[in-house]
Structures are given as structure tokens and as C-alpha cells.
């Protein structure tokens, strides 16, 4: 879509847009003095990382509703390793990713063989099992969760600069860095043989198999890679907010992540989750609505977008150009809108 808006050969404009986004991302904490806003933006970025994982699995044609599970695994693994084993945060940040990846491998080997619908149901069950395990077993802190998780340890950079992570600002830069790594890895994957194989599997699994693509193995890759990043995001989340509790990793979290992805547009692998997550998290904050009304607004926005913009928010420019890919008799409202436009 972005390509269409900006005309394909205008790579300079694209570069300038990216530069502006980068500059805004860097100076954002200086503009927002209130740490509460920075906290919201950190949460948005964590959601973006999770939603991007969901979209990656979706690009291979599978739907997961248990992405919060690997986030929880990462958060709890990091918490336990730091608080009970006594490891450094910077090791656990990667270890939690590896642990989440190993668990994804163990479960994924079994469940990628199921039919697509059964896969979705089983991911819901995996999410629930993780939620119940961390809630029920006292070792993981029970329903009350674990409080007082230490902040990330300070690191010393060259030129005698020591970065402390006691302030929200440095945590913000850390998560932006992680997001950047995540986006680069995903971008590389989508543009490689693996990404093309996922697209082929989504279009037609049988045909892909005849072309020599091992569908199960590629689906497994699409299941594990997001899990690793979700684990890293979970570790970051636990140490930034200093508390993990089972209720923040429940079924509704997974549902919300799916909503972010769908709202942004599932065909926009990287930009879709970013826009969806930002839109849905920032809109209630901008209007400063009460906590009670927030799900109502979320539901209404979701319904409106799903009915009128099947391709997500990012398909709006395409929609205005009149090529949403919708066939003939779709929606009465849609037809009325179209007529008005002409």
C-alpha cells in the first residue's frame, strides 16, 4: 500500500519517511516528559512485537490464538532465572527467548500436523495451559504473581558511558532497539526463500508440496521464530514493569493481539501490527475515556474496521482508489459510500 501511495520508483521519499520515523522514535522520550506516556509507548511496542509474530504465522496460513503463552514463558523464565538462579539480565534476555523457542519446538512438532482449524484451537489450549500452570503452581508465584523483579542491570558502553535502566527512557530505547532487530529479521525472512515458501503454502498447500516445499517444516519455522521474539519481549516486559502476574497473560491478551494484527491489516506484515497496535492503544488514551468504556470503544472500532475495511486500516488508500478487492454485492453501506465518492 505504501508503495502504491508513494509511487514505486520514489525510493528517496521512502528513505525520507523512514528517516523522519527514526528521528521521531529517537526524540519521542524528550518530547513526552510524563513517564506515564513513555510507559504506554513501551507497551505499544511490546504489543507490536507480539502482533508481528502472529502475522508471521498468518502469512503461512495458520492462525494462532496463544501468542501470549510464549510471552508469558519468556517473562516467567527471565524472572525465575534472575531472581532464583541469580543470572544477569542480559543473559536471561536471550535465554528466555531460547526457552520460549524450545517450548514452541516441542509443542509445534505435534500441532503443525493438525488441520488448520484444530491448530487454532490447540494454540488456545496451550495459552490456557501456560496461564493455569503459572497461576496454580506456587513456584511461579501463584495468582498473585511475582513482584519486585529487578530492573535491567546497568551496562557500560565505550567512552566511559554507563547506561542505567532505572529510568523509563532507557528502557524505551532498549525496546526500540529490540523492535528494530525484530523488524529487520522479519523483513529479511519475508524477502527470503522462507517467506516466499510461506506465501506459497498460504495460497495452496498441496501445490506448494508438489513444488518441494516441506509444509510442516516451514509452518514449524513460522511458529518458532515469533515465539523466540515473544520470549525476548516477555523478558523485557517483566524487568521493565517489575511485576508478572498470570492475568496479564490470559486468553484476552491473545485475543487483543489478534485484534491489533487484524485492525492494521494482515496483508501488511510489518506495518500492519504497528498501526493496529498504535491505533487501538493510543485512541482510548487520547480521548481519556474511563477504563470501563475502553472495551466498548475497542469493540466498536473493531466492528467498523472489519465491516468496512476488510483489509485493515492500512487498506484505506487502496479503498479510496477503489480497489479493495471486494466483489460485487458486499455491503449496503459500502455501496452507499462508494456511490457518494463518485
Amino acid at each position: 500500500m505504501l508503495r502504491k501511495c508513494i509511487s514505486p520508483n520514489a525510493s528517496i521519499i521512502k528513505f525520507i519517511v523512514l528517516l523522519i520515523v527514526a528521528i521521531v522514535a529517537v526524540i519521542l522520550p524528550l518530547l513526552l516528559q510524563n513517564p506515564y506516556y513513555i510507559q504506554i509507548i513501551i507497551m505499544v511496542v511490546v504489543n507490536v512485537m507480539l502482533a508481528m509474530g502472529l502475522v508471521m504465522l498468518l502469512s503461512s496460513g495458520l492462525v494462532t490464538l496463544g501468542c501470549a503463552a510464549f510471552w508469558a514463558v519468556g517473562a516467567y523464565a527471565s524472572t525465575i532465572l534472575v531472581m532464583k538462579v541469580g543470572l544477569n539480565f542480559w543473559y536471561t534476555l536471550f535465554l528466555s527467548g531460547i526457552i520460549a523457542g524450545v517450548i514452541a519446538l516441542g509443542t509445534g512438532v505435534v500441532i503443525v500436523r493438525l488441520s488448520k482449524l484444530a491448530f487454532t484451537f490447540v494454540t488456545i489450549m496451550i495459552g490456557t495451559i501456560v496461564y493455569l500452570v503459572v497461576g496454580r503452581i506456587e513456584f511461579f508465584g501463584g495468582w498473585g504473581g511475582i513482584v519486585g523483579i529487578p530492573k535491567p542491570d546497568p551496562i557500560s558502553l565505550p567512552f566511559d558511558v554507563i547506561v542505567n535502566f532505572t529510568a523509563r527512557t532507557s528502557c524505551y530505547y532498549l525496546i526500540i532497539f529490540l523492535l528494530l532487530v525484530n523488524i529487520l529479521v522479519f523483513y529479511a525472512l519475508y524477502n527470503s526463500r522462507i517467506g516466499r515458501a510461506w506465501k506459497a503454502i498460504k495460497l495452496n498447500p498441496q501445490l506448494a508440496e508438489t513444488l518441494g516445499i516441506n509444509t510442516n517444516r516451514y509452518a514449524l519455522a513460522a511458529y518458532i521464530i515469533p515465539a523466540v521474539f515473544a520470549g525476548i519481549a516477555g523478558s523485557f516486559y517483566a524487568h521493565t514493569f517489575n511485576v508478572v502476574e498470570p492475568d496479564s497473560f490470559g486468553f484476552w491478551k491473545s485475543i487483543y493481539i489478534q485484534v491489533y494484527a487484524i485492525l492494521g491489516g494482515v496483508n501488511f506484515y510489518i506495518l500492519g501490527p504497528v498501526i493496529g497496535s498504535m491505533f487501538l492503544t493510543l485512541l482510548p488514551e487520547i480521548f481519556r475515556v474511563a477504563h470501563e468504556i475502553e472495551p466498548l470503544i475497542t469493540g466498536c472500532i473493531l466492528l467498523i474496521v472489519v465491516i468496512f475495511l476488510p483489509g485493515g486500516l492500512l487498506s484505506l488508500p487502496q479503498y479510496i482508489h477503489g480497489s479493495t478487492g471486494l466483489e460485487g454485492k458486499q455491503n449496503v453501506f459500502l455501496r452507499i459510500l462508494r456511490r457518494k465518492k463518485r
Binding site: L114, L117, V122, T128, L132, Q258, I301, I307
Partner: protein, 291 residues
Amino acid sequence: MTGALFAQLVVNGLATGMIYVLVASGLVLVLGIARVFNFAHGEFYMLGAFTAYFVVTLFKLNIILALILSLVLGAFLGAISYRSIFHYMRGDLLRCAAASIGIGLILKQSIVILWNPTSHSIVSEVFKRVIEIAGVTLSVGKLIVIFLGLLIMSGLYYLLMRTKTGKAMRAISLDSKTASLLGINTVKIYWLTMILGSGLAAVAGGIVAPLFVVSTNMGEGILLTVFMIMVVGGIESLPGTVIAGILIGLLGSFGYHFLTGFSELFMFCFVSIFLIFRPRGVFGSFVKEVY
């Protein structure tokens, strides 16, 4: 374990299992025939329970009337949501899922805002009574639930297997395009299925209301259990769902007695292991590629 305790646990398990079967079969119908992945199903169940609660407690009406009213409300909600939303995105499971999440959020939060989210319960004379059969004390309410569940399920069986509408529904679940070619009005059947499924969820909520507590969180809880039951039953097979629902109900009842808090976890792990050995549910086959 004494025989009396065993009988009580079996009755409890059957009663819970019946509720699961009612809700799950509604969802299976909606998913298998109308091709709507309905996340608002749990909220329909919750609304059915709230309707029964209000009719009995505030308006002091009969419990039977309450059940009929919750059935009507559920059917009405299903009809409205299908005709105004799902109809325009039929065939696209992901969009249906997203829209139903939106509907669920709106329904649940409007209940939370209108009435405080504390749990309520209906005081019903008939349901709280106990009877003694052959030296075993049993709750009348649970027996009524089992009876009502059997009644509704046999009605559903009659509808699906003995009427022309049921035949059309089965035809559509096999192949909607061919069914449409053979002169079946598919849109009408989709609509009817959605009404039926939502009505089943709501009437299950109405039946639960006098027995357990009525709270705004009940929809979410049962939805997860129902998903588990559908996985065990084979997702699109109605007989499999019935067996799986009763199985999970009994398992929950016995598990809660012996393991208390861990019973849910135990159940989910049991199902996972079951799935490794039988990935296609109780009766196998039936699972079709839908996405």
C-alpha cells in the same frame, strides 16, 4: 470411595457435561454450517444467564418463562448479529472471528456497565431441593439440568435428522456450493443455524443460572472449556462433541473432588496427551480444511 459419593459425582459431572454439550453443540453448528468462528458465543451464554436472573429475581416470574425468554433473546441476538454483520463476511473465517470478538467485547462490557460485575445467584426452591433415591442424596436441580439437556439435545437430533431443514443443514455442512446448486436457500439456512446456535448458548445460560452463580466472567470461562471439548470431539462432529462434553464434565467433576484446584490444569494436560494419540478427535475424520 463410597457408592453414594460416586453417584453424586456422576450426577454432578453429567449436569456440568450437559451444559457444556449445549453450548458446544451450538458453537459446532455455527462453525460447521454457517462458517462463523463465533467468539461471542460465551457472551450469549452469559446474557442468557443474566436474562434468567432478571426475570426470576426482579420480575418474580416463573423459571420456565425465564428459560423461554433467554432462548428468545439469544436467538434474537444471533439473528441480528448474523444478518447485520456475519452475512457480509461469510466464508472469511478470520474476519468473522474478529467481528465476533468485537460483538463479544461490546456485549460483555455493556453488561458490566449496566449492572455491577459482582456475581449473583437465583434463589429457586425447586432447584435447591434434594431427594433421596436408594439411599443416595441427589440435588434436584442437577437432575432437572440433565433432563432438560437431554430434552433439548433430542429435539436437536430430531431437527437435524428427521426434518427437511435439518437435511438442508447437513447438506450445507458437507458442501455448501453443491447444496446451493440443488436449490437450498443457503443464506436462510446460515441464518437459521446462527439463530439456533445462539439460542442454544443462551438457554444453557438460563439453565445454569439457578444452579451456579451468574457473573459477567462466566462466558469467557465456558468458552475455553468449549474449545477444549470441540478439539476432543473433532471440531465439526456433533456426536463427537456430545461424547466429549459429557466426558469432560465427568472428568471435571471427579478431578475437582480429588485434585481440587489442579483439576482444570489436569484436564487441559489430559486433552493435550489425548490429542497426540488421536489428533482428529473422538470419531476421527470430519475435520475439513476451512480457512
